[in-house]
């Protein structure tokens, strides 16, 4: 079995700087971490490798420093790591990103693809589903539990706010995982020590040969005009009187918002 895990290195802070020209995040100089939802995706893949036997391939798209995260993946027993990196891919929205990822995944031909539900920098939860659509394979999002894995299918729990669904899906398929699915193991000393002896396969657009209009900032239909934190302004209205007046005032204030 071949499992691909899509992972993203994200900035480890909420105090991000934003490029005023492009409206996108400035990543240089900011401490980076594995995206939290992706950690459970990786652990799920490594558990299946242990129980069923599988080759685990991590794919990330990002700047060259994302290789650091891939070394950490090797330190946890991943078999192969691919870094999709090219200045031509920079500034991609989810549309251009999923297009690029799907092209790289096609070269690998996996049975199973894991992705974190969403990344903490963009919070879109769109990349996983879009990749599945572009590969024309079934997808299950919000996976909170792996129930059973066979050689050609997987049974998982999909988590909604107030209920779960148990679903079976045949390979090839794509699953997006919630952070709560599993806790990522530590690196182990032996694998971490060898992590720098393993190659990181770098894939650029000379390899993928995608049309310039479908990748990077120019291939992104989402153009971020401005990113900002909306200041919370609140009007204060003082109501004088006893509890009856207060209750009336509250109800009449809320009334327009209640159907």
């Amino acid at each position: 079995m071949k499992i691909v895990v899509l992972m993203k290195q994200v900035p480890n802070t909420t105090e991000m700087l934003i490029d005023k020209e492009t409206g996108t995040l400035i990543r240089t100089g900011v401490d980076s971490i594995m995206n939290p939802d992706d950690t459970s995706a990786l652990e799920a893949a490594l558990k299946i490798k242990q129980s069923n036997g599988a080759e685990v391939i991590v794919i990330t798209m990002g700047p060259p420093q994302a290789a650091n995260m891939l070394r950490e993946c090797y330190g946890r027993g991943v078999d192969h790591a691919i870094l999709i990196s090219d200045p031509a891919f920079a500034g991609a929205d989810t549309w251009a990103t999923s297009n690029t990822l799907a092209a790289a995944i096609k070269r690998v031909q996996p049975d199973l693809i894991f992705a974190g539900r969403q990344a903490i920098d963009g919070d879109t939860a769109q990349v996983g589903p879009q990749v599945a659509e572009r590969l024309n394979i079934p997808q299950i999002t919000y996976v909170s539990k792996i129930v059973e894995v066979t050689s050609d299918s997987i049974v998982v729990k999909k988590h909604y706010e107030d209920f779960d669904e148990t679903l079976k899906v045949s390979f090839p398929c794509l699953l997006t995982t919630l952070e709560q699915l599993d806790h990522l193991r530590f690196m182990n000393v032996t694998s971490a020590w060898q992590a720098f002896d393993k190659p990181i396969e770098t894939v650029n657009n000379q390899v993928l040969m995608l049309d310039a209009k479908d990748i990077g900032l120019k291939g992104s239909p989402t153009q971020v005009r401005k990113t900002f934190t909306r200041p919370v302004s609140s009007e204060v209205k003082l109501i004088h009187g006893g509890s009856d007046e207060a209750v009336k005032a509250i109800l009449s204030t809320l009334a327009p918002y209640i159907q």
């Binding site: 330190g75 530590f186 032996t190 971490a192 020590w193 720098f196």
Partner: protein
């Protein structure tokens, strides 16, 4: 330090933050050996860091191992010494002096963490004067019959494999000492009373008793009469582990006190704004950095030099005295709160003291260093 060491350091830091730090106060307070932590260390393959992959180790170097002891000890010196005693004292003699059969039988399970190791040289009347061994090993029909006792043995009771030293010829002094590999289940081998200690209270420190323990000849480590040399070179390596433990304790205390002095307010400002605090912190940080240079240098010397006794002794002497100085200053900067068991610095101060004593006291280190200087 290279990129490999930095990646391992990240592993150790994550491990310490999640597994070690949360229970450091508890295992000290209750004097509990952290069995679960050891299991987690096994999972993270931390039990054979500097030994070859073909013997179940990780194939890394001494610095990679030293960094593990340092990071663990920043939060918990007990956990640091469990790893140090296992790796430097339990596994090393077998790696350096064992036969291929002994390596397969004992070193592989030690490195994989299936077995925990310990080392027993000290006796009630043979501390620094190791030649005063009273434990004897008498050769009889393919067995050595070992009788005697050992004290202050780290990991005792939890270890499965013990390197012990006994007199095969009582008339020859240090040249009559021989090393043996004992298994915990050998008949006649019992674990005696557990010591109640000032610090590293979660670690197990016990007496070992041997009542005519039959040890097969194939469990003799090295030749007869070579035990003293094995013990001394093993302790040279062990001292680097203890130096790393001391360095970790000191850095851990500095990290705590930096955070505390920034947040503690007196006279309408944080006490880190007073020059007395600043100068103390500067001294602590400088001593720690100097200790770190010596410890890492000794680790490198072990991998590249035939003899590294002096480097190891200097590292242990300076790092252990730094740990004592720094933790004492840390308690002082905390003031009354530092003296309470609500805060970790008093534990660190208690833990620091042992690093000036075990695996050769500071006085022994000075003997080793001066012998080299005067040579």
């Amino acid at each position: 330090m290279n990129e490999k060491h930095l990646l391992l350091k990240k592993l150790y830091q994550q491990f310490t933050a999640e597994i070690v730090r949360p229970i450091a106060g508890y295992i000290d307070e209750e004097e509990v050996f952290p069995v679960e932590t050891v299991k987690e260390m096994v999972n993270a393959q931390m039990m054979g860091i500097p030994y070859p992959v073909k013997y179940g180790g990780s194939g890394a170097d001494t610095l990679a191992y030293v960094l593990a002891v340092e990071e663990l000890s920043k939060a918990c010196a007990t956990t640091g010494v469990i790893l140090s005693a296992h790796t430097s004292l339990g596994a090393h003699p077998i790696y350096a002096y064992g036969t291929e059969e002994q390596k397969q039988k004992y070193l592989v399970p030690l490195n994989k963490g299936e077995k925990l190791g310990a080392f027993a040289l000290t006796e009630p009347n043979a501390g620094t004067d190791a030649a005063g061994q009273k434990t004897t090993a008498i050769l009889k029909d393919g067995y050595y019959e070992i009788t005697g006792s050992k004290i202050f043995i780290t990991n005792a009771g939890y270890a499965d494999i013990y390197i012990i030293f006994a007199m095969t010829d009582i008339t020859k002094g240090t040249k009559g000492i021989t090393a043996f590999i004992l298994e915990k289940d050998m008949p006649g081998f019992t674990i005696g009373k557990k010591e109640k200690k000032l610090g590293i209270r979660g670690s197990s420190t016990c007496e070992l008793m041997f009542d005519r323990v039959k040890v097969p000849v194939e469990n003799r480590l090295g030749a007869e009469g070579k035990g003293f040399g094995i013990a001394m070179t093993t302790l040279d390596g062990g001292r680097i582990g203890i130096a790393a433990q001391a360095l970790g304790i000191a850095q851990g205390a500095l990290d705590e006190v930096v955070a505390y002095t920034k947040s503690r307010k007196q006279f309408n400002r944080s006490i880190s704004q007073f020059q007395n605090t600043q100068f103390k912190l500067a001294d602590m940080a400088t001593q720690i950095e100097a200790a770190r240079c010596l410890v890492y240098k000794a680790a490198n010397a072990k991998d590249t030099q035939k003899n590294f006794s002096t480097e190891a002794a200097m590292a242990k002497l300076f790092a252990s005295e730094t740990a004592m100085n720094v933790t004492t200053m840390a308690v002082q900067l905390y003031g009354g709160y530092g003296y309470t068991r609500e805060y970790p610095v008093e534990r660190m101060m208690r833990d620091a003291k042992i690093t000036e004593i075990y695996e050769g006291t500071s006085e022994v280190q000075r003997m080793v260093i001066s012998a080299s200087v005067l040579r």
